[in-house]
Subunit: 133 residues, 6 copies
Amino acid sequence: MTMARLIEYDEASAEIRAVYDDIMATRGTDWINNFWKALANHPPTLRRTWESIKEVMAPGVLDPLTKELVYLAVSVSNGCPYCIASHAAAAKKQGMTAQMLGEVLAVVGMANETNSLANGYRVPVDERFENLF
Amino acid sequence: MTMARLIEYDEASAEIRAVYDDIMATRGTDWINNFWKALANHPPTLRRTWESIKEVMAPGVLDPLTKELVYLAVSVSNGCPYCIASHAAAAKKQGMTAQMLGEVLAVVGMANETNSLANGYRVPVDERFENLF
Amino acid sequence: MTMARLIEYDEASAEIRAVYDDIMATRGTDWINNFWKALANHPPTLRRTWESIKEVMAPGVLDPLTKELVYLAVSVSNGCPYCIASHAAAAKKQGMTAQMLGEVLAVVGMANETNSLANGYRVPVDERFENLF
Amino acid sequence: MTMARLIEYDEASAEIRAVYDDIMATRGTDWINNFWKALANHPPTLRRTWESIKEVMAPGVLDPLTKELVYLAVSVSNGCPYCIASHAAAAKKQGMTAQMLGEVLAVVGMANETNSLANGYRVPVDERFENLF
Amino acid sequence: MTMARLIEYDEASAEIRAVYDDIMATRGTDWINNFWKALANHPPTLRRTWESIKEVMAPGVLDPLTKELVYLAVSVSNGCPYCIASHAAAAKKQGMTAQMLGEVLAVVGMANETNSLANGYRVPVDERFENLF
Amino acid sequence: MTMARLIEYDEASAEIRAVYDDIMATRGTDWINNFWKALANHPPTLRRTWESIKEVMAPGVLDPLTKELVYLAVSVSNGCPYCIASHAAAAKKQGMTAQMLGEVLAVVGMANETNSLANGYRVPVDERFENLF
């Protein structure tokens, strides 16, 4: 039930191990989840994706929990099973409770419902919503 | 450039006006945006959608800004032009800055990228990500 | 605001005209909508798509109105502006009223909402829902 | 293979049981499918979603079978495995035959194909398709 | 874990066998994959889909490998598990290596990321990108 | 009709100009398209996205034209108007002809059709399609 081998640390090249080491150090964990073991089949994608994630998910004007809730919400909306499971875990680690999960999913559900209603009636954008920034 | 007439307050039935009035009172505004004027073509959908939105977007364990960021993120990921514009405006009203928008969009972009990578390699869900709640 | 020229009947090749003629004869109309004029940029796609549509949308165990409602519903869910407009028109021609449109959109909205909820909670399929046919 | 516990009737709160009872009474069945048992992790979403579904799927100008076919079509187009299975079962209960399923899927397939063709050629909406209602 | 029976060659009608025979002859193989065995539940869809695929995937100005890479890329982006698996196999048969797969997935990932960024900022189309063909 | 200002070269910060300069040098052009001018509202996203695109779209085991066709195909499938227009232009610059565009769109259309058929019948993955790499 997979496309390619999951590359374990012990069999990984130095290039791959360097990324795995940075993932574990950054996250303060001692294991690597399957996503990275799959990406290791194409080392440039492994490295680039990890560096991008590390930069994007670092604390900014938004805190890490909010970022993880957004990541989870998009994954749910897209229906990506792996991403839903892994980012729910990441959000939980940042403090997401079952109640928060319930509220996030309620918002995701409403967004998908009203997105299709807005598209269905082909609603024109209100003038006041233009050039907000 | 629309499917159906936008029903203005002055021409609306009492049933529709009651919803419009509640929208304006709840939001503390004196105008109705096009989404509701379009939904008014089917009053049961207008009423039910508004009541659902009002319940879901009310403050809970998540604050209104976080909920609006999630709503916006899903709308961006779905590529719904009206919803992006209207929920960016709603998020701005709740305090979203241009910098926050930049961070939200960066997370949405990464989520969409890694969702397709996880699907593409058909990555199996790690045992540790099961039964989180 | 387009990718390629819209090929009008007067400038079309015999191969393209044959398809245009069949579209107009089958539909009992005297005009060709832009979708086909765009597909005419690649005649094999024009011919194959038309023949497929003609076969699929012909009366079967489902009547033409039901088929058009399904077509419209998928187009709305996908957020394809052209397809929403053209299949709403086709459905109207088959008898769709504003009230029916309202009910279809309400169902589409609920489907999109509950699809994301089912994905979000990663709900396992009930045994009773397997091997239905 | 799930996000959260499925809450069974015997362990459910009175608030949840009231919804479960109404689902079974409305549907004339003596069991609850997993979707609702998952939503029960967030009782307000359970209640609101059920009330909305009950209202939207009730007979209107469209009959229940047509509504279920539309619901199924959107779920198929979205690729939501749970929703496809559960709404195929619901549609079958309303009378959908294997032949009807075949025709619905054929329409969904064509809609997805032509949606991407219309988007790909960036086809402008015909004037005649504007302001239909 | 399926909707309908998979119809094997031995139990298939003459109409279905004719399609199965053509699939095996065209592909130079002696087996039929599950997709076609499922479509055989609705013979007109089986026949039409096979004829369309045969025409579209035949060598043209694009070679078969390029076409399979595009097919795979869309399937990955849509998150269709069966389609990803079957078209990765088809692409491999046409010569796709693990390295090529890595590059295709990297492009698919970037496309999904930048699609959401372009939608999120509601970027207007540059004049130079109009009427390309 | 936009979310945020498009930041022109003349008013850009040194950080933004450095990216703009690299885009023009890499592409051998003297102008910047709107996508980058919008991303410039969040300079870290501008820089990271450009560096990722530059790496991913560079010649590899796949040539630049094949990569652009894949990029375009995903953008079409997602229905992102800006991305379709800009990547069709990029593909044309790499040699895509109108005939190639026609064939790409035909494949994208078939992929979307068969993706929904495979999902609709919930087709199980054939054993032979597992662990391809």
